[in-house]
C-alpha cells in the first residue's frame, strides 16, 4: 500500500532516475530489483509480515533499497541512528523485538551476529507476494522516552501514505522534480523523500554529508544538481541564507524549501526569503506521533523580525483542537501513528475521544495556529527530542550517585540543552559522570552544565522544584 505509488512509477517509467548518491545513481527498475532481492532474502530468513527489521545503514542508496525491501516483505523497518552508543542501540534492538538487522559487510561487535543480514550478500530474486493491510506497521521510529528509555513510535502504512499523498499534492511533485535528501531515515522528515517524491516519479539526491558544514559548497551543489525542492531543518537553511554565497549562486531550479523540526528564527528566515525570491517556503509542524499535522505556506510580507511565525493550518486531513483549560494542542486524523511500541505490541496514545495530546502549547489566532513551546519536561536539542528522564535514569544507575535531576536551559545554537544537577558520594566526580554518559547517550543528550548540590530543591509537597533548579543552573 505505502509502496503503491512507487510501484506504479516503476511501471510507468522504469528507466527514470530514482536515487543519486555522490557519483552513483540507480533508476526505478534497479531500485525495485534491489528491493525485491532484499525482500526475498528476508523471507528466506523467515521474516513474516508485520515483523520489525532493523536497518544498520546511513541514509543513501543501500539504506533506501533496504527500507523498500523490508516493506515489500510486508515487514516494518526500524532505522538505527548509528551515532548512538552501542548500549542504546542494543536496547532498541531488544525493545523492538528485532530478529533481523540489515547492514553492509560484517556485523558490529556489539551485535549478536545471528541477527545480521549483509545486503551485499544475496542473489537477485523475486519475493513471494504478501497481503499488506492499511493498518499494518511500516516503521518504528525511536525517540527519547519519558519512561527513561528510548521509545518506539509505531507508524502504519496508512499514516505515512496519507502524509505522502497530501505533501505530493501540496507541492505538486512530478517526475520532473529533483529533490535533495538530507534527513536521516530515523527522522520522520525522510518519509517525504522516500514516499512523496519516489511515489511521484521524481528523483532523490542525497546531500553529501560534509556539505552541511560548508554552505557555499552546499549552494553550489544545489545549483549543479538542478535541485527543485528540499525538506530539511531550519538550522541548515539558516546557514545557507547567512553564508551560502547565494548572491553568486543562482538557484533557478529551486521551486520550494520546506522546513520542520525546530523553530526557524524569523530574522534568519527573512534573510533566506530575500536571497531566494522565487522559491516557495513552507513551515511544517508536528511531533513524530503525528508526522505533519499543521503547515504554513510562508507569506513573505508577514515576516516580522521580532515575531515568531505561525504553524498555520491543519495539514493532511488532520483535525486540530486547543484544550480550553490547558492550552494543549490536540490532534486527530489520518497521519497519526498507531501508538507506542511496547513489548512487541502497539499501545495507543489516544485519549477517550480519539485525540492525541501533543504536549505542545498552542493557540488559534484568526484561523492560524501558533506554537508557544512545550508543556511537559521534553526538550528539543539540535532538532532531537530529549526526555530528561532518559538522562536521569542513566545517571541514577551510576555508582556514587545519590540522586539527580535534569532540566532544559535555553540555548541559541541548539534550541535547548540539558543541564544536570546531582547529589554525589564523596568518591564520585563530574568527570567520571561525563565519561560514563558519553558511552551511553548520544552527543545531543550530553548535559551542557553540571551542578553538584548537597540536596535537590523540593517543593513543600515533596516534588522536585524545577523552577528553583533552573535558577541554580542558570546562576
Amino acid at each position: 500500500m505505502l509502496l503503491g505509488p512507487f510501484l506504479h512509477q516503476c511501471d510507468l517509467q522504469p528507466d527514470a532516475l530514482a536515487l543519486q548518491e555522490q557519483d552513483r545513481w540507480i533508476n526505478y527498475r534497479q531500485l525495485l530489483k534491489h528491493a525485491h532481492s532484499i525482500a526475498a532474502a528476508l523471507q528466506s530468513c523467515g521474516v513474516i509480515p508485520g515483523q520489525p527489521v532493523a536497518i544498520h545503514l546511513d541514509r543513501g542508496i543501500a539504506a533506501a533499497s533496504a527500507l523498500f525491501g523490508v516493506l515489500l516483505a510486508g515487514a516494518c523497518y526500524v532505522p538505527l541512528d548509528l551515532k548512538n552508543p552501542p548500549p542504546r542501540l542494543s536496547f532498541i534492538i531488544a525493545d523492538a523485538h528485532v530478529q533481523v538487522v540489515l547492514g553492509l559487510g560484517v556485523a558490529p561487535a556489539w551485535l549478536d551476529e545471528s541477527l545480521w543480514l549483509d545486503i551485499a550478500n544475496y542473489a537477485a530474486a523475486i519475493p513471494e507476494p504478501v497481503e499488506i493491510a492499511a493498518e499494518s506497521l511500516a516503521a518504528i521510529l525511536y525517540t527519547s522516552g519519558s519512561t527513561g528509555q528510548p521509545r518506539g513510535v509505531a507508524i502504519s502504512q496508512r499514516a505515512i501514505t496519507a502524509f505522502a499523498a497530501w505533501a505530493a499534492d501540496l507541492l505538486a511533485l512530478s517526475p520532473a522534480d529533483r529533490i535533495a535528501s538530507s534527513a536521516p531515515f530515523f527522522f520522520d522528515l525522510s518519509t517525504f523523500d522516500l514516499y512523496a517524491v519516489l511515489g511521484s516519479g521524481g528523483s532523490l539526491h542525497f546531500v553529501p554529508a560534509g556539505l552541511s558544514m560548508a554552505p557555499a559548497r552546499l549552494s553550489a551543489w544545489l545549483m549543479a544538481q538542478n535541485i527543485s525542492g528540499w525538506y530539511t531543518v531550519p538550522s541548515q537553511l539558516a546557514f545557507l541564507g547567512y553564508k551560502g554565497n547565494l548572491a553568486q549562486t543562482p538557484l533557478d531550479a529551486l521551486r520550494f524549501l520546506v522546513f520542520a523540526g525546530e523553530v526557524f528564527p524569523t530574522p534568519a528566515l527573512i534573510a533566506l526569503a530575500a536571497s531566494l525570491p522565487q522559491t516557495a517556503l513552507y513551515n511544517f509542524f508536528g511531533p513524530t506521533e503525528t508526522n505533519v499535522c499543521c503547515y504554513w505556506p510562508v507569506e513573505r510580507h508577514r515576516l516580522i523580525a521580532d515575531q515568531s511565525i505561525p504553524i498555520g493550518l491543519p495539514a493532511a486531513g488532520c483535525e486540530l483542537n486547543v484544550d480550553a483549560n490547558t492550552g494543549e494542542l490536540l490532534v486527530r486524523g489520518p497521519t497519526l501513528a498507531s501508538g507506542y511500541w511496547r513489548d512487541g505490541c502497539v499501545q495507543s496514545f489516544l485519549n477517550a475521544d480519539g485525540w492525541y495530546a501533543t504536549g505542545d502549547h498552542a493557540s488559534l489566532d484568526q484561523h492560524e495556529y501558533r506554537f508557544h513551546g512545550r508543556m511537559g519536561r521534553m526538550l528539543k536539542c539540535s532538532g532531537y527530542r530529549v526526555e530528561p528522564a532518559e538522562i536521569e535514569s542513566a545517571v541514577n544507575a551510576m555508582p556514587g550517585v545519590k540522586v539527580c535531576a535534569v532540566i532544559g536551559i535555553d540555548d541559541p545554537t541548539a534550541g535547548q540543552r540539558p543541564a544536570l544537577a546531582v547529589v554525589l558520594d564523596a568518591e564520585m566526580t563530574i568527570a567520571e559522570i561525563r565519561k560514563l554518559l558519553s558511552r551511553q547517550l548520544p552527543t545531543y543528550m550530553q548535559p551542557s552544565r553540571y551542578l553538584i548540590l548537597e540536596d535537590l530543591p523540593l517543593l513543600a509537597n515533596g516534588k522536585m522544584d524545577y523552577q528553583r533548579l533552573r535558577e541554580l543552573c542558570e546562576a
Partner: protein, 79 residues
Amino acid sequence: MKEKLKTFIFAELIYHEDPASFGDEDNLLDAGLDSMGIMRLIMFAEKEFGVTLPDTEIEPDNVGSLNKLENWIKRSGQA
C-alpha cells in the same frame, strides 16, 4: 585571539568537553561542533575581530581546530 575563540566555543557551543584538556589541534567537529555552532562561531568572530570571513572559505578544514580557526581568521583579516 585563540583564547577568546576557545572561551566562546566552550561557553556557548560545546559543553560536554573539558576545555582544560582540549588541545589547540584537537578536532572541534568530533567534539560536537555542528553546522549551527559553526554559524554562530562565524558571527562571533566577524564581530569580535572585525573581519569578513568569505562564504566560500567556510570549510571543515578551516574550522576543524582552534589552530585552524585562528589561522583562517588572521588570513582573512590581512586580505
